[in-house]
Amino acid sequence: MVKVELGGGMRYVRTMAVPRRNPGELQIDLFCHGVRIAPDPCLASDARPIARTRAGLGSGLELIVPGDLKDLWLNAPVEEDFVRSSPYELKRGETGWVVTDTRNGEVYPVGLPQEPDWYDAATSSGTVMREIGVLQGTYLGIYVSNSCMYWYKDEAKNCRFCTTGFNVGVNEMADKDVREVVETAQRAKDESGVTFVHFNTGYQNGRGLQQLAPYVKAIKEEVGALVGVQAVPPAREADLWQYDWLRDLGCDHFSFCYEFQDPEWFAKLCPGKQETVGQQAFFRGLEYCQSRMPKGACSGEIIAGVEPLEATHAAIDYITGVGAFPTVCIFRPVVGSDMEHYPSPAFEDMVPIMRHMYLACRKQRIPIGAAPNIEVSLIVNPDDAQYLVPRTLGFRIDRMRLGIVKRLARSHFNKELRKRKVAGDLDMPDRREGVATTS
């Protein structure tokens, strides 16, 4: 590979045969190129249906890449235009599904997670459960309410890479009742072993955190699962106490999707976030929450492959520096999005980013991979990137350390996976003093 200037930017150009990928490299290469699917009548019965429900950046086929350190989940692009020229093809091999790299003939066995039975089950109100929430990897993702309000402005202020507004009401229910969410989450826990339920609201005119409260409480008290929340943070510092309130209601994790570190890229591609709260609100929220919660309880969500790579490096350093973990999505020009015609990032650019993510987490001693059975298919999980570093003695000692942390955390997580009465009340306290949780 050589790096050359092409079309106004630096790009890698292939000059030699592509080597066999290890599982971590294959995951990244599949994110960047997507996978073509050979016609096969068995695919529909073997695989999870492709569902872009609640998908900002994902709309693909769920795959599992087996590995000796861990199996890797990914949502591989299949519908986007760039996939037509992908070197990867999915087909049925003699012993199961394989991905073949047509550049070098390498064959990689992959798993296709099956569609859970509960996807087609109905809630007591008659809604099909897949329209309430879908598995994204091994967790249940639920977009709780009407679409992100950035989509409703006369001049749309939606994030330019996102298609969420196009999904709600089209591919999923517009309004989700707490009862239906509880029923869906219970089936997902019982039948799919789900341990983590993640709620997202998009922008709700500053009321996102309030809107999520009843769902958080219901899952903790009636299902018993780890609960994560993603909402546009309050614009005012004085309103950050709402996070404490949600913690009282049982929330275990907050994620802050600020997408781009460079303020100019943030403003350009996230015009709604820029106009309503500003990039600093995300930093303020992340720092506030992470400073009050165990290391690695919060995350900063960014997109790699659009802004300059140095900015993505800086984002990873910032997020891990505050004690949170980075969730790094590889940019995908999703069908229907404003950035549909942008190029997909280069594998050679993404590998150093993900390697840096892993190393930064280890440098800051972020306990990655400690929570039970949480594999996020839309991103390269921090511990997925362990495949990208040499297996030195230090690496092995580090893995041993993480194993110990995981064992020590087990009892805490087991407790959180049982139904429990939460300390908080749904009546929103008038002010910070009304919140039980303190730092």
Partner: protein, 133 residues
Amino acid sequence: MIVDGDHAPVEVDGDGPVAVALLGALQMSDIRFEVDPGRAGIDLLCLRCSATAPNRARVKIFAPRSGTTVAFIYKDPQLPLSTDRFAYGALVLKNRPASDEETVALIEYLASGLHPELRPPTLKRAFPFDVPR
């Protein structure tokens, strides 16, 4: 012109005068739209192909509530196991017919295969109702 699965011209009935007027405009257009009777509302596939690929643009005309008519623009997935619809927005008409400009822009957008530069400015990107299958 609106045609059936055999590409024979066909008349379709809209739900209310706003839908009837919009369908009338599509009927009079020199671009062919194939109606799919198996889908909710009046669901039409634009048959004008580009030089390189078949046109995947579809429009579904339906009434989510009394007094509101919607022309929902979308593409079907390319993969048979996908249940997704790729939405591109909707012309939402509340107690009024589509203007001539809106109708022309809509037809041009569909005929272009949903080219981003031809996106009608009045298309709503999000709407507070479910789009029937």
